[in-house]
């Protein structure tokens, strides 16, 4: 048996260069300090894959029609325990994915990992974040229960505030002025085809760029960090590691080029990545079994008493919309768009070589304020919903 496996492996290696692929994939040099924080990227990937697998399962049963969508999920809930758990996993992994991808972005932002030569890693990461958010928003429409319907009414109305083309975009998404069957079909198409078609190739690009430039890690891993320390001399440049990828991949500031200490991706980083991913998957599974995915009454457009509750990731925006007067709502809706544009432009605005967050006040202060602002709005919003 062993000999046959060896022979098969050798046969494949001869034709597909498996050994070299595995060696390149596993023996990358990664910075040592702060390695637990670097697990957020792989955790994001694992959760996206979980979304893909459970999503495929759900498409085998779900019917994207206003008359059948709710019924198909109600059937799942009442008669199919396995399917119900799969739906629960799909929902909870989406929730946790949004949280983890948010943390991953915050970590990258604070560590200055978006700087030369990693600008495109950051840009693709921001686009991936927006796509994941888009997946979550469109996914929320699909059950076509009361919550889904009224979320769809609110969300599809948001583009209408865009100057000049707002009404057109809303009509395009809704399939007319009002919500209807076409809205659901289009949203389903966007959720399962359009967004994933962009998402997965972009993940490939993101990973390829990461592989090319290597994990930056944190400023504490570099010589540049010692410049700001009292009574500590800047250490000499470290020796280059013989394994891939070479640091630096392209000419960059020598102070931030090569980590002072590195270790092999396998087994050190893979252990940490694996552990965090397994813990997250277990948490998702437990939540899926214990709480599951809710399904409210079937959508009733004629009701006037239903109070829609936003998804948790919408809470900051929802709270902000509650706070501002009617006249300023378009201004508030510009905030997310402006925020994404700013994030995309960040590596091109903050171009200085400095990575130490304490020495980058121009981006750190507004960035920290934005993060705290979002956290506070989420807290306040959740408190308000609890008392609704």
């Amino acid at each position: 048996m062993g000999r046959r496996l060896d022979a098969t492996y050798n046969w494949l290696d001869e034709r597909a260069a498996l050994r070299s692929l595995v060696r390149k994939g596993l023996y990358e040099a990664v910075p040592v300090r702060g390695a637990w924080f670097y697990t957020l990227g792989s955790a994001t990937l694992v959760l996206i894959l979980l979304q893909l697998v459970t999503g495929i399962f759900l498409t085998l049963l779900y019917v994207p029609s206003v008359t059948e969508a709710w019924a198909s999920l109600q059937f799942l809930k009442q008669h199919d325990v396995f399917g119900s758990i799969v739906r629960g996993i799909h929902l909870w992994s989406a929730y946790i994915l949004l949280f983890v991808i948010g943390l991953h972005m915050v970590r990258t932002f604070f560590s200055g990992s978006y700087k030369r030569p990693r600008e495109l890693n950051w840009v693709t990461g921001v686009i991936l974040f927006v796509l994941v958010l888009g997946m979550a928003i469109t996914g929320a429409f699909l059950p076509w229960d009361q919550a889904a319907y009224w979320t769809a009414v609110v969300v599809t109305n948001i583009p209408a505030y865009t100057p000049f083309i707002g009404s057109f975009v809303r009509a395009l998404w809704r399939g007319g002025d009002a919500m209807g069957p076409i809205t659901l079909v289009r949203t389903f198409g966007i959720h399962v085809w359009l967004l994933p078609a962009i998402l997965f190739p972009l993940i490939g690009v993101h990973l390829a760029l990461l592989r090319k430039h290597g994990e930056f890690g944190s400023y504490v891993n570099y010589r540049g960090a010692f410049r700001a320390r009292e009574c500590v001399d800047v250490p000499p440049p470290p020796a280059q590691r013989p394994i891939e990828p070479p640091y630096p991949a392209v000419p960059t500031d020598e102070m931030w080029a090569v980590p002072l200490q590195t270790e092999d991706f396998y087994p050190y980083q893979t252990f940490k990545d694996g552990l965090v991913s397994v813990v997250l998957v277990v948490v998702v599974f437990v939540l899926a079994v214990a709480i599951g995915a809710p399904l409210e009454a079937i959508a009733d457009p004629s009701t006037t008493s239903y109070v829609p509750v936003p998804e948790w990731f919408f809470l900051p925006l929802d709270q902000l919309l509650l706070l501002v007067p009617q006249q300023l709502i378009p201004l508030i809706l510009v905030l997310p768009v402006g925020g994404v544009v700013l994030l995309l432009g960040l590596p091109f605005i903050d171009r200085g070589p400095e990575r130490n967050p304490f020495e980058r006040p121009a981006v750190m202060v507004p960035g920290a304020f934005a993060v705290v602002f979002v956290v506070i709005l989420t807290l306040l919003g959740s408190g308000r919903l609890f008392n609704q």
Partner: protein, 454 residues
Amino acid sequence: MIGLVAAVAPAVHQLAAQLPPQAPQGNNRIGSQAAIGTLFSIHILLAGLVSGAGELAPAIEFLGYARQRRRYDRLAHGLGRFITLYFSVSSTIAILLITVLLVGFWGHFWSTMLTIAWWPLVIEAATFVLQVSLAYIWYYSWDALRSFKGVHMAIGGLLAVASFLQVYMIDIVASYMLTPTNPQNPLRLALNPTSYPLTVHRTVGNLAYIGFVTAAFCAIRFRRARNPEDKAFYDWAGSFGLLWGVGMTLMQPIVGYSYAKEIQLHAYSAWYKMMFGTLSPVFLWQITLLGLIFIVAVTYFTRRLRTDGAPGAGLLKLATAGLIASTVLAALPYHLNFTYDAVVAAGLDRPFWQGGLINPLGSMIPWKILALIGYSLIAIAAVVWYLRGLPGVVWGTARRGEQRLLVLSAVLTVAMMVTMGFIRENGRAPYLITGQITIEGQQNTQSAHPTPAP
């Protein structure tokens, strides 16, 4: 001495004869309110500092560790010393408040409140013990754990959590008094409509407050310092305290507005009193104070950079001008009379240029909101600009005017704290617990049977 005693004795005897034989519930409402109001204000001003220090000191220690700079350690250690010295003073006032004034003057209210919020108050008492224990361990193990900085910072982290919990527990009680919910459900009690906004508002506020007071303290110490090392330290620490205070305060416009919004949704009469009623002039003073704090802080930033010829002072001047404009906009009154009701009663509910007493530029929507947004955005820009200019500053060279500004910022913050407390407590009137116990009702209800006179 004997002569003095003999002279005073008849007056003391006469006074003793007039004293009530039991707790003075039901009598002297104004006296009871004044006693509680005064002592609570003192308690909150001290407790806010202790609580803020319990959160700020560990954060500074962590910053020092991350930045590898010794002066952070010195500042954190100094704040630890402050906690160990003033925790007991603040606690003594709290105990006096509860055992003597609340039970003695407001017994019915207090026993009701204690019954409703028993669990939060039990946890509050536990967090007191936890906080003081951790504060002492953290402060006195400074040298012993020098080689185990991670352990020491973890203890500091626990101290910060205990300090936060303590504020949160008492905020449950305070917020319940304004927006009561079903007291049978502990979760509803803990998450009553204003408990989150008040907790966030107060936590951020306490952190800002300790920053401003640290700045003022360091300004005074800077003036007294004789050796260059101390001068450099207090100059830096004053600047750090102010930066921290401003950094926290710039979140308050949003947090405070959220709090006001919840009051509007769940305690409309209190909100109306704050915005249009008898408290509206005080509210106007509060929003003006906020602007003044920012103006003073940014003026300090400008002067401090200019003293050493560091870059950025010009732009900070521009920021000061922006803040002055925002403050003027925020300070404009909407109704040019004591209350809006008085304007309506006089039939003058129209713009002043039409002979009325309404100033549309003083309305909350959108003008005061724009002013609040202006406060936050300009303050962020000013902080960024000051931080960018800081590498050009030589610590220890500050001038007297800058130190005065640091002290002024702390004075304004204290005024702000007292004003906010006044508004919140009086917004509820005539209720002690909205819709449940009025001040009158408390006074007319005897929570204990009077002791028969011998």
